[in-house]
C-alpha cells in the first residue's frame, strides 16, 4: 500500500494549480511541436532548458514530461494528414494513416491514433508506477561494474543497432563521447580539453549540441535540399470511429502496448523497432489484409501509435531508476535533472520521492489532457499545418537563439551553435545518426565514472567486469548485439554461395 499512498501524495502535488498549469503548458506546447514539422520533443525540451535556472524542479519536470509525450500525440496528426514522411517513429503510422486519409477516413485514423495513444500511455504509466519502485529496489544491488555494462549496452544499441551503418553510428557516438570529455574530470577534478578557456571548464551545454544538431541543421537542410518539395494535405473528416472500427482497434492497442513497453524499458532505445514490430503483427493477424497498403487498415494505425506511446512512457523506468536515458529526449531530461544537481538512479525514489511521484501522477493527468487536446480540438492543430515553411523555419531560428543564449548569456555560443548546425547538416546529408552524439555526450561522463569506480573495486584489474555474474552476462549481451547480426549475414552469404 506504500505505492498507493505515495501516488496519492503525488496527485496532491501534481494537482496544485501551478503544477496543473505546467502540465497543461507542456501538453499544449508538446502537441504543437509534434504537429509542426522541423522540431521534435528533444529540441523543444532542449530549447526550454534555461527555465531550469529559475523554475523549481517539480514544475519544470512536469512541464518537460508534458512536452515529451505531447509531441507523440501531435506527431500522428501530421503523419496522417501530410503526405510527407515524418520522423522514424511515426513513419509506420504515415503508411496506413495516409492511405486512410486519402480515402476520406482521416477522422477515424486520427481518433484511433489519439485514443490508442491514451490507452497505451495510461497502461504504460500504470506499469511505471508499479515497476519503478521494484526496479529501484533491485538497482540498489547493482555495483559500478554492472552500471558500466548497462551504459555500454545503451551505447551499443543506440549507435550500432538502430542506424543503417555501424561505422557511422559509432563515429557519431565517439564524437558525442569526445564532446562529453570537455570540462573537469568528475573523479580527479582535472581539466580536460579546455584549451585554457574558462568557459569550457563547465563543459559544453547540452542545449547547444541538441539545438544545433536537431533544429539548426534541419533548418539548413530544408533550405538546401527540400525547398522545392511541395507538400499536399489530406482532407480532415469528422473525428469519429464506427462500432466496427472500435472493435478492430481495441486488440491492436493492447497488443501494441505489450510490444512497446519492454522496448522502452530495456536500454535498447528508440521507438522505431516496436512500431515496426507492431505493424508487422497487426498485418499478420488482421482479417482485412487486403486493406493494408491499399485503402488503409485501421489496425495499421492503431497498433504502431500505441506501441510508440507505450515505448516512450516506458523509457521513464530506466531514466528514473537507473539514470540511463534510452532516447534523445530522455537524455535531455537527464540533463535537466543534472541542472538541478539531481542524479536520477535507484536513490532518486528515496531522496526525491515527492518529485518522482508528482511526475508520475502528472503523467496520468497529462494523458487525459492530451486526449481532450487532440480529439475535440484536433481541427485547431490542423491549422498549424498551414504555417508556411519559410516563416516556420525562420521562427525556429529565433527559438534556437533564445534557448542557447538564455542558458549562458554568451554570444560566442551562438557562433558555436551555427558551427554545430553545420556539423549536423553534414551528418544528415551523409546519413550519420544524431542521437548517439547526444546520448554519448550526456551518458559518457557517467559511464567513465562508473568504469573507474569499478576498476577501483577490482583494485585496478579489468577482470572485475567478468568476475561478477551480473556484469558478465551484460557483457555477453553487448558482444552478442555487436557480433551476432554480422555473423548471421556472413553465414547466410556462405550458405547461399554453397547452395
Amino acid at each position: 500500500m506504500d505505492i498507493w499512498n505515495q501516488l496519492i501524495q503525488g496527485f496532491i502535488t501534481a494537482g496544485t494549480p501551478v503544477n496543473l498549469l505546467w502540465a497543461l503548458a507542456g501538453c499544449t506546447i508538446g502537441t504543437a511541436i509534434g504537429v509542426l514539422p522541423g522540431i521534435g520533443p528533444a529540441t523543444a525540451v532542449a530549447m526550454l532548458l534555461p527555465i531550469t535556472l529559475q523554475v523549481e524542479p517539480t514544475g519544470s519536470m512536469i512541464f518537460f514530461a508534458g512536452i515529451y509525450y505531447g509531441a507523440m500525440y501531435g506527431g500522428s496528426t501530421t503523419s496522417i494528414l501530410l503526405n510527407t514522411p515524418g520522423e522514424a517513429g511515426s513513419m509506420v503510422t504515415a503508411m496506413e494513416g495516409n492511405k486512410m486519409a486519402k480515402n476520406g477516413r482521416a477522422g477515424a485514423a486520427l481518433a484511433t491514433a489519439a485514443i490508442g495513444s491514451f490507452v497505451a500511455g495510461t497502461i504504460g504509466t500504470v506499469v511505471v508506477t508499479i515497476a519503478a519502485p521494484v526496479v529501484a529496489k533491485y538497482a540498489v544491488l547493482l555495483g559500478p561494474p554492472e552500471y558500466f555494462m548497462l551504459m555500454m549496452l545503451a551505447f551499443v544499441t543506440v549507435s550500432a543497432v538502430l542506424g543503417k551503418s555501424m561505422v557511422r553510428g559509432l563515429t557519431s557516438l565517439f564524437i558525442g563521447l569526445a564532446i562529453g570529455l570537455i570540462g573537469l574530470d568528475q573523479i580527479s577534478g582535472q581539466a580536460r580539453y579546455t584549451l585554457g578557456v574558462p568557459e569550457l571548464m563547465d563543459g559544453i551545454e547540452v542545449v547547444l549540441i541538441a539545438v544545433g544538431l536537431f533544429a539548426v541543421s534541419e533548418a539548413l537542410y530544408v533550405m538546401l535540399y527540400e525547398g522545392r518539395q511541395v507538400e499536399t494535405q489530406n482532407k480532415l473528416s469528422k473525428v469519429h470511429m464506427t462500432r466496427e472500427e472500435w472493435k478492430r482497434s481495441w486488440p491492436a492497442w493492447l497488443r501494441a502496448t505489450a510490444i512497446g513497453l519492454p522496448f522502452g524499458t530495456i536500454p535498447a532505445g528508440g521507438s522505431e523497432i516496436p512500431t515496426f514490430l507492431s505493424y508487422a503483427t497487426e498485418k499478420k493477424l488482421s482479417k482485412h489484409k487486403e486493406e493494408f497498403g491499399t485503402i488503409g487498415a485501421i489496425e495499421g494505425v492503431a497498433g504502431p501509435e500505441a506501441a510508440n506511446n507505450a515505448a516512450i512512457t516506458a523509457t521513464l523506468i530506466p531514466l528514473l531508476t537507473l539514470g540511463i536515458p534510452t532516447s534523445n529526449t530522455a537524455a535531455i531530461l537527464l540533463g535537466a535533472f543534472q541542472n538541478y544537481g539531481i542524479q536520477p538512479g535507484p536513490q532518486l525514489l528515496d531522496k526525491n520521492a515527492a518529485l518522482v511521484w508528482a511526475l508520475i501522477a502528472s503523467l496520468y493527468i497529462g494523458n487525459v489532457m492530451l486526449l481532450v487536446l487532440n480529439l475535440p480540438m484536433v481541427g485547431l492543430w490542423v491549422k498549424l499545418l498551414k504555417v508556411p515553411k519559410a516563416q516556420l523555419y525562420a521562427g525556429i531560428l529565433i527559438f534556437a537563439t533564445v534557448g542557447v543564449y538564455g542558458m549562458r548569456q554568451s554570444a560566442f555560443d551562438l557562433v558555436l551553435l551555427y558551427g554545430i548546425g553545420l556539423l549536423g547538416l553534414v551528418m544528415r546529408r551523409y546519413d550519420f545518426p544524431a542521437a548517439p552524439v547526444v546520448i554519448g555526450m550526456i551518458l559518457g561522463p557517467l559511464a567513465e565514472a562508473q568504469m573507474r569506480n569499478a576498476m577501483s573495486i577490482g583494485e585496478g584489474k579489468w577482470s572485475v567486469f567478468v568476475e561478477r555474474p551480473g556484469s558478465l552476462s551484460l557483457l555477453v549481451v553487448v558482444v552478442a548485439i555487436l557480433v551476432l547480426p554480422r555473423l548471421m549475414k556472413l553465414l547466410r552469404g556462405k550458405m547461399r554461395a554453397a547452395g
Binding site: 543503417k164 535540399y225 544528415r428
Partner: protein
C-alpha cells in the same frame, strides 16, 4: 561517384579529430590512483576509436562510397547555396549584434534574412520593400513575446537595446 570527395573528406576529418584528441590526451595526467586507469584513459580510447572509424570511413569512401546508404541523399541532389548564405548571414549577424542591439531587433533581423532565403529556395523570391516590412513585423511578433516571456515571467537574462526591459 559524385559523393566520393565529400565522403573522403568526412573520413579524413574524423582522422584529424582523432589526432587532435590524441594530442590533447598526451597533456592529461595518467595518475591512476587505486583504479589503474587515470583521467587520460577514456580520452585515449576515444582518440583511437575515432581513428579507427575515420580510417574505415575513408576506406569505404574510396572503395565505392559509404555502405548501406541510399544512392541519393534525401531531398534534392543539388543544394541551393544562395539560400544557405542567407540563413548563415542571419545566424552569424545575430551572434554578432545580439549584445549591441538587443535580442528582439537582432532576432528580427535574423528572421527577415532567413525568410528571404527560404522564399528564394522555394522558387518564389520576393524582394519588394513591402515584403521586408511584412517579414520584419512577423519576426517582431515572434521575438518580442518570447523576450518578454523569458525576461519578465521567467526572470532569465536576455540582452535588450535599452534598460527598460521592453525592447
Amino acid at each position: 561517384m559524385t559523393h566520393k570527395l565529400p565522403q573522403t573528406l568526412i573520413g579524413v576529418g574524423t582522422l584529424v579529430l582523432a589526432g587532435l584528441m590524441a594530442v590533447g590526451a598526451t597533456q592529461i595526467s595518467s595518475d591512476a590512483g587505486y583504479s589503474g586507469v587515470g583521467p587520460n584513459f577514456v580520452p585515449w580510447v576515444v582518440a583511437i576509436a575515432l581513428a579507427l572509424c575515420g580510417g574505415f570511413l575513408t576506406w569505404e569512401a574510396l572503395s565505392g562510397g559509404y555502405r548501406q546508404m541510399d544512392e541519393e541523399g534525401p531531398g534534392d541532389a543539388r543544394g541551393y547555396w544562395p539560400g544557405f548564405t542567407w540563413v548563415s548571414a542571419g545566424m552569424l549577424l545575430n551572434a554578432l549584434l545580439i549584445t549591441y542591439i538587443g535580442f528582439i531587433l537582432s532576432c528580427t533581423l535574423c528572421f527577415v534574412l532567413a525568410v528571404r532565403g527560404y522564399k528564394a529556395s522555394q522558387g518564389a523570391p520576393d524582394w519588394s520593400p513591402m515584403a521586408f516590412v511584412k517579414d520584419a513585423l512577423v519576426g517582431l511578433a515572434i521575438a518580442a513575446p518570447v523576450y518578454w516571456m523569458f525576461t519578465k515571467l521567467l526572470a532569465i537574462n536576455l540582452p535588450g537595446l535599452t534598460a527598460t526591459g521592453w525592447i
